[in-house]
């Protein structure tokens, strides 16, 4: 078992969850819990696959995630923020909707042999020569680098800008924000739409980095895992890199361990369960991690006496 191979694999596998976690962080900091992030990822994945199918152009396909994310983000914002529906239940049903829609569209447009295309790796000189971790971290694809950069941007956005401050206030005490003159609804809309766009990118990178094509339910719970990563890493984008990395590692190990001779008696299917078990353990050890106070509660607005 080669450490470098495992690490490289881990970094590749962590990217979709990283994108989704970052998107979810923004939404949750503003007070919106989006269980539908799984469906958002699926939509982004489908959009990218659609792009791939029709244009064979990787860059265009990647950008297709943006309109997908915006569309889905607006639908969810409308439900969560404007209509004030129960967030958990709405999110769950949205996942069903996304699953059904992408599966139906997939069967219509995307079956049949298509070219499988994925992003090539782009090596960053010098740093990639660092032993062991060099080639793992610095020989990845462009969307992967973009994800790490985005983590930094989101961190900066949340901590060091006025927008971030207001977002966090709206997630903790929307009534205080309102009383100070903030537009709670607009801020939450913005957060959800931006968050969904990032999550859609996560789905797109799943297709464009790993598989090169779409199958039904391709995300297999990675959106849900992102939810866990966000709680575990306490809404801190820098820690979230580590958290997503943990998931990536679990996934990478799952492949590697299958081939280790002493353990090959354990059936393939049970190895597949490893990332999910790791997630359960992660969520169980996040004691003391507290959601922003107003998360999950639709904001009723000024008229509430």
């Amino acid at each position: 078992m080669n450490i470098t191979t495992v690490l490289t694999s881990a970094v590749t596998l962590m990217i979709p969850v990283l994108w989704a976690s970052l998107g979810e962080t923004i939404g949750e900091e503003a007070g919106v819990l989006n269980i539908g992030v799984e469906g958002v990822m699926l939509s982004g994945a489908f959009a990218a696959a659609l792009g791939l199918h029709f244009t064979q152009d990787l860059a265009v396909s990647a950008l297709m995630a943006i309109p997908a994310g915006l569309l889905v983000g607006c639908i969810l914002s409308y439900l969560y923020v404007s209509r004030g529906t129960d967030q958990i239940v709405t999110g769950l049903l949205f996942n069903l909707l996304a699953l059904g829609t992408t599966s139906a569209l997939y069967e219509k447009y995307l079956t049949g042999a298509g070219q499988i295309l994925t992003f090539n790796q782009v090596e960053i000189p010098v740093v990639s020569r660092i032993p062991i971790i060099g080639s793992a971290f610095f020989n990845q694809t462009i969307p992967s680098y973009a994800a790490f950069l985005t983590a930094g941007v989101v961190f900066y956005l949340l901590r060091y800008t006025w927008f971030g401050l207001y977002l966090r206030i709206v997630g903790e005490r929307p009534d205080a924000g309102e009383a100070a003159g903030l537009d709670v609804r607009a801020l939450r809309w913005g957060a959800v739409v931006v968050g969904c766009t990032l999550a859609a990118f996560g789905g797109a990178s799943l297709v464009l980095i790993q598989t090169g094509g779409f199958v039904a339910n391709i995300t297999s719970g990675q959106g849900f895992i992102a939810l866990a990563v966000v709680i575990l890493c306490r809404w801190n984008p820098l820690w979230i890199i580590a958290g997503a990395g943990l998931f990536g590692l679990a996934d990478a190990l799952q492949f590697q361990l299958q081939s280790v001779s002493s353990l090959s008696g354990v059936p393939h299917d049970l190895w597949l369960a490893v990332p999910y078990i790791v997630t359960i353990v992660a969520v169980s050890s996040a004691k003391g991690s507290r959601y922003p106070a107003a998360v999950g509660v639709p904001y009723r607005g000024r008229e509430a006496a």
């Binding site: 060091y160 800008t161 006025w162 009383a179 100070a180 008229e303």
Partner: protein, 527 residues
Amino acid sequence: MSAQWPSEPAEAEEIIQPGPRVTAPEIAMRSIVKRYGPVIADDDVDFDLRPGEIHALLGENGAGKTTLMKILFGMVQPDAGQILINGEPVEFKSPRDALDRRIGMVHQHFMLVPQFSVAENVVLGSKSFWGPRLRAAEIEKSVRAAAQQFGIHLDPVQRVGDLPIDVQQRVEILKLLYRGATTLILDEPTAALGPAEIEQLFLSLRDLSSSGHSVVIITHKLSEVMDIADRVTVLRHGKVVKVAERGTFDKNDLATAMVGHALVEVTSTPHEADTRECRLMVRDLVVKGDKGHTAVDGVTFGVQSGEILGIAGVEGNGQVELAQALAGLRHPVSGKIEFNGRDITRATPRELHQYGVSIITEDRLNWDLIPELTVAENLGLSEVASGGYVKRGLLRRREMRVNAERLLHEFDIQPPLPQLAAGALSGGNQQKMVLARELSRQPSVLVVAQPTRGLDVAASEFVHRRLLELREGNCAVVLFSLDLGELLSLSDRVVVLYRGCIAYGGPVGQVTTAEVARAMAGTGVAS
């Protein structure tokens, strides 16, 4: 209902010095109407605010005062009527509009984010969304300068959640002044303050007024109006019944205007319990708060049967944690609670019910009542939890209904319909429901917090009477109250909780209000 505040505060810290002179506008509200469904909160209300005056808006709970000011602050839209600033009609669609016109409001429940620093809370909303970098250092400097300018003692770096209530209030006020507010609306500002803090607040308000700011105080306390207001507007059931200048009214005038009749104060007559047995004994109790700090620090007291022990103290000195420990909702770190000699320190709420200990918490809608369940279910809830009203695994709903009807009648709760969802009852009736449930169990010990919070005068009288009746029936009552007047008029003995310790105590006949107030402020005699 009123206590005599000490004539001079323990340590007169000048909180707000006369700042730069400002000119507040003349504000007029004309023919304001606001309905919530079938209920009229404000019924054709006129309200005038002169620049630089301190104007009290007086009325019972539910009279429409807060609603009216929320309309002025843009939080609520009126169904009819106008707001005029310096004669010019304006429309406030949101608090932002009001703030732009330099009108600010400090709400009863502070609109502060506990996790954030003072500075972050003060600058809340003052810069646009899309502003550039948030520099923590710059913000701190700016807030520090503002605090100095207005002479407010605040450390910008501290987390708001760590500050005591009266300091939090200063943050709220600075927040408004920082935004350039010249008109300040304060909603029940003294609700959670002790006598010393109230005195300091009033000093600050006078300073603000003399530098040109207009101040509106929403209150239901007559004494405050007498102390501080230049003018008073009295609301009753949503209508203006009186507007008067300082010097032209006295307490009785106000009371009559507010309630429609003169006030009757309920006081207890000194009562000798039959046997001096200590029914409830608390020894060296130490309880930790939510943040891990020590909220109750080694408290010892006893309550005898047939006695009401009043626990006084400014909010945030450990009362909540102490009450929770007594209720079985929070495990003490060390120490003992004994009931008739039996150790109940770690008893669960269910066990406490079975022993005959009744609890009425201060946050009734959150802790005591479930609005979505029916009245009958609520009234029988703790019985069911202890295994009552059950036969062969099924609930005995008829019995529950009969019991409910009895209680509804006895406590005069309207409407007396057991099958109604409890949430459909008015606030006052809901409180009575909770009281009915707990009091009817003939408890041996009753722990009750803020029993008359949110109740109007008549309902408060009723509650006071029932508490005294319990005492006659040899129940041991522990009464937590922020209302010193209520506490002193009901209790046989009183103790003061300060920073988690008992700072003072004694029989009510022997303590003076001044000493109690001083102990509450932390400058009292250790006893």
